[in-house]
């Protein structure tokens, strides 16, 4: 960010403490205010009066905009070997390592065990085809110590069962209030936006 203010603005107040000059490019720490940045954060006049000396500063957005494809936010390992940005990327991503050490992991999954043999899979398939009501996904998952998703990946219920279940679902859906139908449809539509820029 380049701020070109007149030199007379420098006399306003010393704002040098919010400029971190330890790196190659001076970095702005927090919003520029001439008052105490914590106890007087409410005072808008402080921000209006703060005048930074002209120069080049690195002032990243507090949270990167989703789908931003600029040089500031691109990860180092996504750059090609001959990319000149490799020289400065460490400066730009200084805090990331520290954050990654303290940030809580969303859903901790254990290591994959790969404990099921091909014979077990064949058995799962057979059981599910034999009696899909008794041997449901949940039951089989518990029996073989894996997830219901895994059961659905490796096996499928008989055709009649599939048709029957889809009919049942149709019946349930037909009994929904129009408002619920609409809400569900909209939720589906919103979800497609998650996967776009």
């Amino acid at each position: 960010m380049v701020r070109l203010f007149s030199t007379s603005a420098r006399v306003a107040k010393d704002v040098s403490k919010i400029i971190d000059r330890s790196g190659k490019i001076a970095k702005i720490v927090g919003p520029a205010t001439i008052y105490n940045s914590k106890s007087s954060a409410w005072n808008y006049k402080g921000y209006m009066k703060a005048k930074l000396p002209g120069g080049l500063y690195y002032d990243p957005a507090p949270s990167s905009i989703h789908g931003s494809i600029n040089s500031e936010t691109i990860p180092k390992s996504f750059l090609e070997a001959n990319d000149p940005r490799l020289d400065i990327i460490d400066d730009l991503t200084q805090g990331h390592a520290a954050v990654s050490r303290v940030a809580p992991v969303l859903n901790v999954k254990g290591e994959k065990t790969y404990h099921l043999k091909p014979e077990d899979i064949a058995e799962i398939k057979r059981l599910r085809l034999e009696d899909p009501v008794k041997n449901s996904r949940k039951t089989l998952a518990k029996k073989y110590n894996c997830s219901p998703l895994f059961i659905s990946i490796v096996s499928e219920p008989p055709k009649e069962r599939q048709i029957e279940m889809s009919h049942r679902l149709e019946t349930i859906k037909s009994q929904w209030h129009p408002k619920r139908t609409l809400a569900r449809a909209e939720r589906k539509k919103r979800k497609t936006l998650w996967y776009r820029a």
Binding site: S63, S64, H66, G67, S68, I69, S71, T73, I74, P75, K76, S77, F78, L79, E80, N82, D83, P84, R85, T93, H96, A97, V99, S100, R101, A103, P104, V105, L106, N107, T192, W194, Y195, R196, A197
Partner: protein, 315 residues
Amino acid sequence: MSFSKLLNPVRVRGFASCAKLYQSELSSLKEYKSTISDLLRNAGHELKSPNLVALHSRLGLPQGLSYSLLSRCLTCRSSGEVNYDNMSLNIFGKSLLTMAVTSELMKKHPRLPGVVLNAAVDAYINDHVLSNVASSWGIEPETQSVLDRYAKNENATITLGKLRYFQNSTDELHNFSETNAMAVAVRSIFAAIYSVDKDFNKTHKFISDHVLSRKLDVKDLFAFEQPTRELAALCRRQGLEKPVSKLLAENGRLSKSPLFIVGVFSGEEKLGEGYGSSLKEAKARAATDALLKWYCYEPVHGQQPVVIDQGEVLV
């Protein structure tokens, strides 16, 4: 109708004279039509159409490109002009345009997946876009029929500077829409420039100035299906650590409008970041963000120009 307009000024007294007059008018109409064709075909005779001169100098076309050739670029096969239209120029122009746009896009974003690359190329060179280009160049379509022009006694060179695509035909196949015809004319002009210069770099420059100068945000063309799985596959392929989603910030978890910010990390390196009103949404957005950063990689100006990539990630 236009036909009555033609006959109105002629005072008709008897049927015999009417037929005679009709015959003479018809023959002079035919003559008028053939004058246009002759003017168009005769490359030696310099065409002095004001529209053509204006278009030529407005686009800064090469000196060697004759007005006759430019007029040919504006004559579509659907106009009924026999054996002298822009059909072949259009086909060649389309190839030139695709070549220029694809190469430029691949230089700019070497990692675009095939589907997105096709969509991006199409976004630059589809008929609607080219029709806009044609309008900005000031190409006007000819909207009057030959009969109307003849009745007005319009100079034959005027129509040669307009886009001629309309034919009074019931055959749907032969009637272009105006958008198609405009796009065809633009592509033909690219081909005409190449046919005069015989230098692809010059044509490429012209295409860059008029077509590639339009802004296209490639990241808007993406729509992922399973971004988290795709990112995991990408990291495996590139020899990076398995991506892990971590919660960076949150606000109002138990409120009506919670907000979560999730970052996806590979080891200690942050690949992407996403927000959302649920943890699921934020996680999906973070993975999408990381994938976009990978696919939309843009080499810096001055870097080794072509980076051949391994292609898109297959899940």
